[in-house]
């Protein structure tokens, strides 16, 4: 999935922030199943990385394109 506009970038950043907050909560909370916690953290981090890649790709294209920020 590729981002198409700055509006989508902003929305993705907001989801990114929520997911990063969630990761901190998962890491800090008491846990009775360490294995499941690891799986959850791994899954959330994978989604976070995917979002960061999409934002970076969009920003990279936007900075090289001769268009104005919407």
């Amino acid at each position: 999935m590729s981002l198409q506009s700055w509006r989508e970038v902003d929305a993705t950043r907001e989801k990114l922030r929520l997911l990063e907050d969630r990761c901190r909560i998962i890491a800090a909370r008491p846990c009775h199943n360490e294995h499941i916690r690891e799986l959850s953290l791994r899954s959330f981090k994978a989604i976070i990385n995917q979002m960061k890649e999409e934002i970076a790709i969009f920003e990279s294209h936007a900075s090289s394109a001769p268009t104005c920020k919407q």
Partner: protein
């Protein structure tokens, strides 16, 4: 019997204005053929707006009563907001045959369902462009809720973690599963609400 239980549940939802299980589901009417006599019958469809609402029991009731349906796409090509229950066959008929890309994505999904069942996954939600109107989706985002005895089969778990073509798989516990489905999957990149599909395992 199952149908009667579901009717009772729907009646309670209506009288209380919300689901007695704590969700915020919306009840709508539609016509469907009665399973018993095949005549058209007024039935109720539950649109679930919080993933925690549907208990395993109610999902079974919906499965056996046939009171479920993947809704039509809206004007943006999305499903209406909520979690829409469907069997794997229903998912294939609706999303898995319309293009070559969709066919191979569907094959991956079928493998995932087999592995998930073996591994002891309790619920499987499909998100991403696969459950939209796009003829050639980019990806199939899947959220898998680990069951109490997960992993029932270590090899199946490892196969899921190794990944499958086209699938972005999140394997997570209950609390985080609800969060992911309700907070991240519920909207698109422009924060427009959309629906997801739950495959009945």
């Amino acid at each position: 019997m199952h149908s009667r239980r579901l009717d009772n549940h729907v009646a309670r939802v209506r009288s209380h204005g919300r689901c007695v299980h704590g969700g915020t589901d919306v009840v709508t009417n539609l016509q469907r053929p009665c399973d018993g006599c095949n005549r058209s019958k007024k039935a109720d469809r539950l649109i679930v707006t919080t993933s925690g609402f549907l208990t395993a029991r109610l999902r079974k009731i919906q499965l056996h009563s046939g009171v479920r349906m993947i809704p039509a796409f809206d004007e943006r090509g999305y499903l209406s907001a909520g979690v829409h229950l469907a069997s794997l066959d229903e998912v294939e008929a609706r999303f898995g045959r319309q293009s070559e890309v969709r066919r191979v994505q569907m094959e991956s999904l079928q493998w995932l369902v087999k592995l998930a069942t073996k591994a002891g996954v309790q619920r499987l939600i499909i998100n991403g462009s696969f459950v939209t109107e796009r003829s050639e989706p980019n990806d199939v985002d899947c959220a898998l809720l680990t069951g109490a005895d997960f992993p029932r089969d270590k090899q199946a778990e490892q196969d899921i973690l190794d990944g499958l073509p086209f699938l972005q798989i999140a394997l997570i516990g209950q609390e985080d599963f609800d969060y992911l489905v309700d907070s991240v999957f519920a909207t698109d990149r422009q924060q427009i609400t959309k629906g997801v599909v739950e495959v009945i395992l």
